[in-house]
Point group: C2
Chain length 327, copies 2
């Protein structure tokens, strides 16, 4: 099973439905603004997770399609608000909403997508008690997303503990992913224990993904990742490599040297190479890779008990892909 | 039945519960920001509407309390975002959230309250299908609120038609009020026809309230309303008085004179008095008052069929109060 192939397949399946839930309506300016991100394509990781979890528990994937759309809308709502908060003018080649439509419409387009997502969830083709279960996971995830984003803002330029770092990425990236998986399993008719296991799978996977991203940020091939490899260091971004390094660089002179490079926007390529050398010697790079591996192993162990299916295969393949990629 | 007394009574009932749904949690900065508006008191019109509608259909008001809180949180979420969009630094004597906590936290506090509201709704003590019904009304209302706010922004400084004006205030102020009433009735166990009637009652009442506000903006006693009476005219605010005047001032000279005053921030007290004279002659003031009266009559007629109860009395009294107040 090739995870990327499955993603491409589901991305195509999702494209039509994702464009069918925001009809023309006044004021069209708001409608257009709220459509831009969801209509633009992308990896559709969260919708794929909804559909796969539904299929993996023996459910009818089609029944989970509206939830897949709703989760993607929620993801897009957070992107619109985040882009404005961060002052970003570009996202995947598109101009961001606040740049083209102005601040008020950007905030409202986010709010509107959020509302639309729950309008869609209200119509899910499941009984009311299952609807309540889905609602619990998804609303909790959005609450946590706001907390994670606030933490991320507060952490900026700070050296935080590994505990705080992990909690921040859990809230910022894993919870919605996990809610997508749990929601898909509920719609698929899974019992509570199965739903919880699938939720834990996706939570661990989300962490593994993010931690491996941090690893790639230092050790990746910039011609493939498209990101300047020294960037995380120049920005002083507090990743798991940095939280590890802070307690594992024993020589005060080396620590001083490292801190002189970290967060220095003018650091030269030689300095970046030296920082990477220090991170290698402190074991921080290896630690990040191993921690990502551990999370992925944990994720896979959670769903071992599921009956064999194409969807289960995808879920395992996706976990393996999370730490075996160069982009 | 004194509507204000009932409001004060329910406001006290709601105060405790409203402070019980946002526990201490990290990051506390976000928690504090999201608590400020809901904890600050106020008229609690929407919670009162939830509780009254529940009681009016013979339901147990206590069962509707969580929904009352959720609706108030949604109202507060929109206030936080609106205050930021409008650049307002004060609300009812409080400093606004974005002023004290900065823009990102203000946007996130709004998002968080929105999420919390739906977390509360997910736990409503009703069966799953009733939960679905509540969810339909409330999610539609939030979608409409975003549309209304966008329209309001677009209308600024424009002379729009009465139709556009009514649609804007319906979306901006009536829909959440109407969802509160419908939701309360659903929790109270009402059948669909009753729910719909109560929804229509609150929608018409919301319009009557807003239109009478516009009337007060021109004819009110500023020592009571606390608003400068010429303000709406100086700002060129497009109220129903203005949409009416635009098609009922027949003399082009008077129209030119009126337009010279409308939207003129430096208009003198004499000019404001003259504008009011013109609005009286064109029948626009009387038209606003009568339209508000018509909406209130319509509202009351919708709930005539309900069995007598204290709550029904309040709902009627509130409608009458909407157009018999000086503040």
């Amino acid at each position: 099973m090739d995870a990327k192939e499955y993603l491409m397949k589901t991305s195509k399946e999702v494209d039509g439905p994702i464009k069918s839930y925001i009809p023309d309506e006044e004021p069209m300016r708001l409608i257009e603004a709220s459509r831009r991100y969801p209509y633009a394509g992308g990896k559709r990781m969260r919708p794929a997770m909804v559909l796969a979890a539904c299929g993996a528990v023996g459910g009818d994937r089609k029944k989970a399609m509206p939830l897949a759309v709703a989760i993607e809308y929620i993801h897009n709502f957070t992107l619109i608000h985040d882009d404005y908060m961060d002052g970003d003018s570009k996202r995947r080649g598109m101009t961001t909403i606040h740049v083209d439509y102005g601040m008020p419409t950007a905030i409202l387009a986010g709010d509107a997508l959020f509302a639309k997502a729950f309008q869609i969830i209200a119509e899910l083709d499941v009984d009311g008690e299952k609807l309540r279960e889905v609602l619990r996971y998804v609303t909790k995830a959005v609450w946590d997303l706001a907390r994670g984003q606030e933490m991320d803002t507060a952490n900026e330029g700070q050296l935080v503990s590994e505990e705080v770092y992990i909690e921040t990425i859990r809230l910022k990236t894993s919870v919605l992913f996990a809610a997508a998986a749990a929601g898909g399993a509920i719609v698929g008719g899974a019992d509570k224990k199965t739903v919880e296991a699938i939720n834990e799978y996706a939570m661990a996977l989300g962490l593994g993904f993010q931690i491996f991203d941090d690893y790639l940020g230092i050790c990746g091939d910039s011609s493939k990742t498209g990101k300047s490899v020294g960037n995380d260091i120049r920005k002083g971004k507090c990743t798991i490599l940095i939280t590890h390094a802070m307690s594992h660089i024993k020589d005060p002179k080396i620590m001083a040297e490292f801190k002189g490079i970290l967060g220095n926007m003018d650091a030269t390529e030689e300095q970046i190479a030296r920082a990477r050398e220090i991170l290698t010697e402190s074991g921080s790079i290896e630690y990040a890779r191993k921690t990502a591996q551990k999370k992925v192993d944990e994720a896979i162990s959670k769903i071992k008990f599921l009956k064999p299916s194409e969807e289960k295969e995808f879920m395992i393949a996706l976990a393996q892909y999370a730490i075996n990629r160069d982009v």
